[in-house]
Point group: C2
Chain length 222, copies 2
Amino acid sequence: MVEAEDLQSLKTIALLGGCRGPIWLSSQSLGNELGISPQTASRRLIALERQQLVIRSMKPDGQYVAVTREGEQVLKREYADYVRICNPERRRYTLAGTVISGLGEGRYYMSIPHYKEQFGGCLGFEPFPGTLNIRLDAASIQVRKQLDHAGWIDVPGFTADERTFGGARVLPCLIRGQKCAIVEPSRTHYPEDIIEVIAGSELRKALNLNDNDTIEVEITHD
Amino acid sequence: MVEAEDLQSLKTIALLGGCRGPIWLSSQSLGNELGISPQTASRRLIALERQQLVIRSMKPDGQYVAVTREGEQVLKREYADYVRICNPERRRYTLAGTVISGLGEGRYYMSIPHYKEQFGGCLGFEPFPGTLNIRLDAASIQVRKQLDHAGWIDVPGFTADERTFGGARVLPCLIRGQKCAIVEPSRTHYPEDIIEVIAGSELRKALNLNDNDTIEVEITHD
DNA sequence: ATTACTAAAAGACGAGTAA
DNA sequence: TTTACTCGTCTTTTAGTAA
């Protein structure tokens, strides 16, 4: 757990742009931002570095400070808390887009027994070996970003046959009343305008979907 | 400025539901949440009450604590900071909806010289005396919520002829290339699915718009 | 100008206690 | 059980100093 004061300092550094790259920062300037003495600011920076929440490179006229990956995660967690506090009335979200052809990766992964089991266990249906790929419209891309801190279920990765299989996360949803779930690999960065959906049956056939058909995905949570 | 530790306590109370109504909370339970002694937790609660960030009502078996309006504002400000940190790549937002008839209030307000002047000054065009009302679709309502912490310009209220005119805020945007702005009264609560847009000319005529026409509003900022 | 140390002052912490 | 006080201890802060 990060202390309240360290969090305050980290947030200030992030607001100054410390997440995007190293920023010039003296103990004095940080002290002014926080209303504390430069000595204390200096100690705060040392403490943040010890916890590996920032990295520093010293220069004669100050230091350059950047927020680390871990520091960003701390901030993201904090952000998620405030989202919960400030947006409690999030009921129904709707993502709209068009059906597109995937690359067949989804089918490959969903054919691996371990994944199938894991997904089945937390979703309540045995996933059909294949995914429905949807290209989101502009507005839905924004909605999807909001959903980043929603009720995703984590599915850990595993190792088998000397290969490592990455983790993923799933978000239960509905398409035309059909129970399904959005799947997203944990590690790799996915294009923000595309989602992959799994279900208990082949959605394309069950709902008579073809490429370029428009479609709505409903997410309810909290 | 609220101290880091007080903010931490306030946030914890809010996460426990303190924004929605009074919650039962003992010094012990708050202490457990925060990893501090009940004595310190008690002192924190007293401090929060002194700053009027929470109100307490004592009971023999504990106390009921609720976050005040001021406390909520502190949390909202914090939330806005984290939005700035975590969503820096907000480029283009699109709100989609249908044109509807307003109640003519917009026309009334935009006919008041003081407002006309104020809006004109910060927007770069002299507003046509009338507003275009748009009913947003479901996805756009969510996008609009994200825009809550975007580049709004505040227009203060004023008093004239023994009447008080409330403040408003405007957000510059584009409709089919036309420079315009979303207007929102500061005080009153506006329905979340409707926006009012002002422009330098009468948008209905300039863009040949009729009721129920679908329309997109683009917002670019940061 | 910086950073970061030391040492004195200030303040916070938690055990004990009373109500 | 509570809250909230006092008080001894310990931590944090800041002034002063050196590099």
